[in-house]
Amino acid sequence: MSNGEPHSDGNPVVRWVKESSVWRSLFRQPYPTTSRTRSLAVFNNVFLHLHPVRVKRHAVRYTYTFGLGGISFFLFLVLTVTGLYLMFFYVPSISQAYQDIQTIEATVAFGAFVRNMHRWAAHLMVLTVFLHMIRVFYHGAYKPPREFNWVIGVLLLFFTLALSFTGYLLPWDQIAYWAITVGTQMATYAPLLSSESSFFILGGVQVGQGTLLRFYVAHVIVFPLIAAIFMIVHFWRIRKDGGISGPV
């Protein structure tokens, strides 16, 4: 990687910036090149300290995890950012939502691109979460002490599906409308629950304004928040259970 020449910039402006107290309050050490500074770089950074300073050697083999959990998390971040952008141009009303999507597609800067990315990332995330689960099962990584993290994982699977499903309605086109009509019918076949659960999910007797608003609120705040909280617990538990399982 670097050759022990972290910031020996000949350029006086660069040197002036790097020696200023503002820079040094931000970056408390030069580019890390020793074990000690590399450890501190991870340990002292709020984002990086999600990780331990050292990890098991086998855990960084591509073929152990295939990075699937990490990719799922990264896709969640991509979805958060792209979703936020779309929110600026979308109103969850049955008379406006469809037009808003058309406007996003046609006139909003990068609108079509961001919408496409949001959609493909969402489909990909469902896939990677499933594959991650199969990988974890294959390694028997749900065994003690990781039983509970597996349960958290199943909840994450559920919320991933729920997020994807609620988002599917928002374009308010024929695909969306009928997919959600069929999908929610499946959920409401329960004999005793049927009318109550259908009303609870749909906010009415059929897919309509109540449903759109409900799904919107669930999609942009309730489910992402719950999923994020469970992800925090999921990652925390990985650390507390002694890091990644194995080697098998």
Binding site: H7, Q29, S35, V53, R54, N116, M117, L161, P247
Partner: protein, 206 residues
């Protein structure tokens, strides 16, 4: 920078597998010596803002052959992975437009109404069984069954080769799910009748 192969892999492996899984990171005894003082070459401009004594959290002195430093080994992989997925998404988003049909119209029922793809296996199952049974049972049994796995499988073995039956069973469930999902996606057309996608075309949108 590559990670060298350990010379004595099997011996180390035993050490690792026998290590108690529950031992918290940096438990006493496993604690490292103090990190060396500042002044290592390349850190001359390091200004010491605070020196926090960290006996057990920063495991700088851990034996180098059973662990690797997160920076750079893990972070590099995560960065490359993120770049790869980003590139994939950018290419997909430029090339493939997300579908958008006409505005929703409750009065116009399409030829075939399909749920999103990950529920199409379920929709396919509903066409076999009494919907009150299948609709009520499949999802809770599926998710509940998954959650119960760690509490049902109490065998101490982890490797798939040591628990063949359970692994094969799990794979069968997964592959079964995949098959019904594929049927729902590609082989069901108007009225949920069987179609050959290469003859009648696709009745499926992502």
């Amino acid at each position: 920078m590559t990670i060298e192969k350990r010379p004595n892999a099997t011996a180390d492996k035993n050490v690792l597998t026998q290590a108690p899984e529950r031992a918290p990171v940096g438990s006493p005894g496993a604690g490292p010596k103090l990190p060396g003082p500042p002044g290592v070459p390349g850190t001359e401009r390091f200004r010491l803002l605070a020196y926090v004594k960290q006996e057990s959290m920063v495991r700088v002195d851990k034996r180098p052959d059973e662990t690797v430093l997160t920076w750079p080994h893990l972070l590099r992989i995560e960065f490359l992975g993120a770049m790869l997925i980003t590139a994939l998404l950018v290419v997909a988003s430029v090339m493939i437009p997300a579908p958008l049909e006409e505005m929703a119209n409750p009065a116009v029922t399409p030829h075939v109404a399909k749920a999103p793809w990950y529920f199409l296996g379920l929709q396919e199952l509903l066409s076999y069984f009494n919907p009150t049974v299948a609709g009520v049972l499949v999802m809770p049994v599926y998710l509940g069954g998954l959650m119960l796995i760690p509490y049902v499988d109490r065998s101490p073995f982890k490797a798939a080769r040591d628990r063949k039956m359970f692994w094969i069973f799990f794979l069968c469930v997964m592959i079964g799910g995949l098959i019904v999902t594929f049927i729902g996606m590609f082989f069901r057309g108007p009225g949920w009748n069987w179609v050959w996608p290469w003859v009648e075309g696709l009745y499926f949108t992502l």
